[in-house]
């Protein structure tokens, strides 16, 4: 038994603020994207029944914080806590989806957490990141299913949505999140976190 491995992350104040800031940032990006999608794209495709599919193309943004943060902090509990914080922040910001966003955020956080836990918080690579993005897709989809939005829709239609959401998750919360985090580490911004510990951002000879 390696006890130390299962120690939960000790949250410092700056980690909480950081997680909240990431949540705020992406909530704003989301909000802007959703609105532009709703106003620009949705009306065009609505007459064909594809209106609410438009949102699926950017759905990965909602998972970003719950996958990005554990990749940087690499400790148990991070995905769940950050996921939930993201939901809470959106409520505090006055989102129109206040009633459902908290539960969605919790489910997404737990889904990502499950993947990282499966690898005992030791492996943080392309594979686990992409898997976590997929897990979030599945988690959010199961929840949406339970909420009964699509239970009586055509299976082919639902499957299409699932594929679009999965691709969006892989691109945004898998690939882009890892890319951004790695770049931040190389820029020396993450010195005090496990991911950035090996980069000092300055050459050795100095």
């Amino acid at each position: 038994m390696k006890k130390s491995l299962w120690n939960l992350y000790v949250w410092q104040l700056k980690d909480v603020i950081l997680a909240s800031l990431i949540a705020v940032l992406f909530a704003v990006v989301c909000y802007a994207t959703v609105h532009s999608v709703v106003f620009a794209v949705t009306p065009l495709v609505t007459p064909f029944g594809f209106g609410d599919i438009a949102i699926e193309f950017v759905f990965g943004i909602f998972f970003f914080s719950a996958i990005f943060s554990p990749y940087i902090m690499q400790k148990p509990g991070v995905a769940t806590v950050v996921g939930t914080l993201t939901g809470l922040i959106q409520i505090l910001m006055g989102s129109a989806f206040s009633s459902t966003v908290l539960v969605s955020a919790l489910v997404q956080g737990l889904s990502a957490e499950a993947v990282f836990a499966m690898f005992r918080y030791r492996k943080f690579n392309w594979f686990t990141m992409l898997l976590a993005a997929l897990a979030c897709t599945v988690g959010s989809f199961v929840l949406a299913w339970y909420r009964g939005l699509w239970t009586d829709l055509d299976p082919g239609f639902v499957a299409t949505r699932f594929i679009i959401r999965a691709v969006s998750a892989l691109l945004i919360s898998g690939i882009a999140a890892k890319f951004l985090a790695d770049r931040l580490a190389k820029a020396g911004v993450l010195k005090s976190y496990p991911l950035g510990a090996k980069y000092k951002g300055e050459p050795d000879e100095s």
Binding site: Q12, I17, V38, G51, D52, S98
Partner: protein, 201 residues
């Protein structure tokens, strides 16, 4: 005209509404959706001030666009229908109506939460009733308080890249990278400032 919704204990109101929204996810009924949304609007009209009514209206415009598109999704793909203009039936119309009204009912409850809750009051009440740790409570508020600052910095970052001859599209990662750098810097500075004012768990 009154504002009684503001005076209810924010934590109880918040918990009740979130639990209520979660419970009704398991009940699929057109009339329940209509009643829930109607009740929410009634409460909003009687329990909030005109400023909130205008905000609600602004939110309901994109919501309506989305609800209409949900209706069409149901119309063309629900209740046995399998594509645009292929097999619209009473069942599929019903399905579309269900989906659109269900969405309205969620939004109605969401409006009750977001328009009648002051973030500071909610966090204070979460601390006393839900034992939310201080660092989470104040950490979140600190982040929210940076929101306007963040918006201007984001616009500045986009502008700065354009001035340097780098095109930035709406989904470009470069300004987001700059904002993440800021987030790391700000979280350190802000936490140190808070600790210098005696912040202690």
């Amino acid at each position: 005209m009154s504002d009684f919704l503001f005076r209810i204990n924010p934590f109880y109101k918040f918990t009740f509404l979130v639990v209520f929204a979660t419970v009704i996810t398991f009940i699929h009924s057109f009339w329940m959706n209509v009643w829930v949304f109607g009740a929410c609007i009634f409460l909003l009209l009687t329990g909030t001030r005109p400023a909130q009514h205008i905000k609600a209206l602004k939110i309901l415009i994109p919501v309506t666009v989305f609800a209409v598109s949900l209706f069409f999704s149901g119309l063309f793909f629900g209740g046995g229908a399998t594509g645009p203009f292929g097999g619209i039936s009473t069942a599929s119309t019903q399905s579309g109506m269900n989906m659109a009204t269900r969405f309205y009912s969620f939004v109605g409850i969401g409006l009750l939460i977001s328009l009648t809750t002051d973030p500071y009051a909610l966090v204070k009440s979460l601390r006393t009733h839900a034992k939310l740790p201080r660092k989470f409570a104040y950490g979140m508020l600190a982040a929210i308080h940076l929101l306007p600052h963040m918006k201007t910095e984001y616009q500045n970052a986009r502008l700065a890249f354009r001035v340097r001859g780098v095109p930035v599209g709406p989904l470009s990662l470069k300004p987001i990278f700059a904002m993440l750098v800021n987030a790391f810097r700000w979280s350190e500075m802000l936490s140190i400032a808070m600790i210098s004012r005696g912040f202690y768990e």
